[in-house]
Symmetry: C2
Subunit: 370 residues, 2 copies
C-alpha cells in the first residue's frame, strides 16, 4: 500500500449461483476451482492472493487488496485501491458455469462501494458510477442501481440484481439461516492509535501485535488469517463454521479508513454491540453501517430479531455520534439498511483532550454469533 493517498474503501461483489447439490455427488460447486485459476482471475482485477484458509463450508482468500470468500454456491469478492474488480466478470461467470452443481443461472448479484476518496485515480470501468452500472448491465440486464445517501455528502452506491421469479425461501420455524451481510465502514480513524496498531515496527513478530491479540479475544472461536502490510496497513479474514468476518485497515492519516464485514446473523442488541465495539476500537470521525438482510417466509422470531435492527435499530445518537442518514430499501427478497453517522462536537473535543491516553476500554471486545 502506498503512503500517499491509498483508496481504502472497497468495491464489493457478491454473486449467488443456482446450485443443485442433488445433481452431483460433489457438493463443492465453486470450491473445486483451483488456486491457480483464481490467481489468473484475480490478475484481471489487479490483485494477488496472499494466503488461503479453508474449512468445511468455504474458502477464505486473503488478497493483496482485501478478500475473497468462496462457497459452493456463492462468491464474495472485495477489493480496494485501484483494482478493476468488475473486469473479472466474464471469466468468473465462465469458470463458475463449469463447476459441478452450478447451472450457470444466477440468483442474486450485489455490487456496492462507498464513494471514492480519489475517484480520478480509478481505472475503467470504475471511473464513475454510471460506467460501473453500464458494465454490470452487460452481464446482469435489468439490475437496479442506486445512489444511497446524500448526493452532496457521504454516500454509497449499490447495484442489485434478483432472479425475478425467485420465491422467498420457505424455512421451517426456528430456522435462522437467513442471509445477512453487515458492513461498518469507518473514515478518519484516531491517528495515534492507528499508527500504533497498523504500522510495522522493526524487529517485531506478528504475534507481538496488540491488534492481533485484541482480535483473538474478540473472536475466540474463529480461525483468523492476518496480514500486516509493510510499511503499514492490515487485512484479516476470520472463519467460523459457515460464517466469515473480514477487517481491512488503511491507517495513513491523509486517507485513513477501516472496514468490518461479516455474514453472521445476530439479534438487534448484538448488531448494536458490534457497531459500538468497532467504533470504540477505530475511533473514526464518521462511519457508515450497511446491512442486507434476507426476508424469509418463516415465523422464526430470529428472523424478526435480525430484521429488528434493520428497521428500528441504529439510533439517532450513538456513542457520541449523530445519525446523518437512515434509509431502508425493500428489494424483492432482501431489505437493505443504510445509516451514516458523524462525530459530535462534544466527542471531538473530548478526544482532543484525551489525546495520547488509552481512553477507551476495549478489553471486553467480544463478538459471538447468536
Amino acid at each position: 500500500m502506498t503512503v500517499d493517498g491509498f483508496e481504502g474503501p472497497e468495491k464489493l461483489l457478491e454473486i449467488w449461483f443456482q446450485f443443485d447439490n442433488k445433481s452431483t455427488s460433489n457438493p463443492s460447486g465453486l470450491r473445486v476451482i483451483e488456486y491457480d485459476t483464481w490467481a489468473r482471475v484475480l490478475s484481471l482485477v489487479k490483485c494477488d492472493i496472499l494466503s488461503v484458509k479453508r474449512n468445511d463450508f468455504f474458502d477464505a482468500y486473503l488478497l493483496s487488496e482485501s478478500s475473497m470468500f468462496v462457497y459452493p454456491h456463492k462468491l464474495t469478492l472485495k477489493t480496494c485501491g485501484t483494482t478493476t474488480l468488475l473486469k473479472c466478470l466474464a471469466r468468473l461467470l465462465e469458470i463458475a458455469a463449469k463447476s459441478p452443481g452450478i447451472s450457470g443461472n444466477i440468483e442474486y448479484v450485489f455490487y456496492s462501494r462507498k464513494q471514492f476518496m480519489f475517484p480520478d485515480r480509478q481505472i475503467y470501468p470504475h471511473t464513475n458510477w454510471s460506467d460501473e452500472v453500464s458494465y454490470l448491465e452487460k452481464y446482469f440486464s435489468g439490475g437496479s442501481a442506486y445512489t444511497v445517501g446524500k448526493t452532496n455528502g457521504d454516500h454509497w452506491f449499490c447495484f442489485v440484481w434478483e432472479e425475478p421469479l425467485n420465491p422467498l425461501p420457505q424455512l421451517p420455524s426456528g430456522q435462522i439461516k437467513v442471509d445477512c451481510t453487515l458492513e461498518v465502514l469507518m473514515s478518519g480513524l484516531d491517528e495515534e492509535w492507528a499508527s500504533k496498531m497498523f504500522y510495522k515496527k522493526a524487529n517485531s513478530s506478528p504475534s507481538d501485535n496488540e491488534f492481533s491479540g485484541l482480535l483473538k479475544r474478540a473472536f475466540p472461536d474463529s480461525d483468523i488469517d492476518e496480514f500486516h502490510f509493510d510499511p503499514c496497513g492490515y487485512s484479516c479474514n476470520g472463519l467460523k463454521d459457515e460464517y466469515y468476518f473480514t477487517i481491512h485497515v488503511t491507517p495513513e492519516p491523509k486517507c485513513s479508513y477501516a472496514s468490518f464485514e461479516t455474514n453472521m446473523a445476530f439479534d438487534a442488541d448484538m448488531y448494536a454491540k458490534i457497531v459500538r465495539d468497532m467504533v470504540h476500537l477505530f475511533k473514526p470521525s464518521n462511519f457508515t453501517v450497511t446491512l442486507f438482510s434476507e426476508r424469509a417466509n418463516c415465523d422464526s422470531s430470529d428472523n424478526n430479531e435480525t430484521h429488528k435492527y434493520l428497521w428500528t435499530g441504529p439510533s439517532k445518537s450513538f456513542c457520541g455520534f449523530f445519525r446523518q442518514d437512515k434509509i431502508i430499501y425493500e428489494f424483492e427478497n432482501y431489505d437493505l439498511l443504510f445509516a451514516h453517522y458523524e462525530c459530535s462536537e462534544k466527542l471531538r473535543k473530548k478526544r482532543q483532550a484525551l489525546q495520547g491516553q488509552n481512553y477507551l476500554n476495549i478489553k471486553d471486545f467480544k463478538i459471538k454469533k447468536i
Copy 2:
C-alpha cells in the same frame, strides 16, 4: 401548453417559516403579501397567476404552470414546464421576512422533482440536479440532497433542510394535525380517456366537462378552482379547511403525465384507496407515490395510522401494477416514503383488449379526510 413535448413533471418547493402569531395581532403572516407582489415574484419563475381562491386558512393560486398555496407560516409552490422555480428564492425570502409574525428564520425546506422527460430544455439552475443543489445550498446551507430510486431507471430528486435544533412537535394525544404531503405522479396515461377528458371541445362550457363532474363527486366538500387549457391540459386546486389538493394533467400521448398532491392526513386504508382511485382514473403505465409524514411526539393512534401506510402500506402488487421500488428515509422530524410501480404485462393486455370501452367504474370515486 405546447403540443410537442411538454414537461409535465413539476418542481415542488415548500418552505416553513418560524411564525410567532403572539408577536402580532395579525395572524396573516405570508397571507398579507399582495396579489401584485406574488405576480412579480412568479414572473421570475416564468409563470402567471390564472386565479386565486381563499378560505379562513390559506390562499390557493392556480398558475399558468401549476399551483401555489400560501399559509400564514408556509408556502408551497409547484411549477411544471421549463419554469425557473428556484430563481424566485432571493425575492421570496426577502418579502417573507417582512411579513407580520414571520421572523425570517426558516424551519423546513423541501424541494423535489421527478426526473425530467426533456432535461435538455430546462433553464439554469434546473439544468441538472447538481446545479439545483448548488443553487439551493446558497440559501439553505447544510441541506441534504438525494437521488431517490433507480439511477438507471425511474427516480425522483429531493432536497431537505431542517432547522437543526427544531424539536419534534409535542402534541396532545388525539391531536392529529401531523403534517403530511402525498403525491401520486403518473406517466403514460390512457390515451383515449385522456383525450376525451382533457382536450377542449368546440362550443362546450366548463360545466359540461366530465372530469369536473367526477371531481366534484370525489371531493364533495371542497371548494374547487379549475382551468382547462387550450387546446389541452388541465389544472385544479381544491380547498377544504386547512387542507388542499391539486391535480395537473398533461394529456399529450408523447409526454402524458398527471399529478395528484394533497396535505390531508389519512389513515392507511384511505391512503391506499386514494392511490387506487387515482390509478383507476388516469390508467397510467407507471406511477410514483411519495409521502412526507411528520413524526410527532404523541401517543395519538392517528399519527401511527398515517405512518402505518408509509411503513407497511404500498404492497408489492397493486391494481395490476408491480412495485419496482420501496424506499424509506428517516429525516430529523419527517419520514419519507418513495414507491414506484409499473404496469404488469397482464394489465397491459387487458387494457388493449378493452380499448375504447369505459372499462373502469369510477363513479364511486370519493375521497374524504379521516
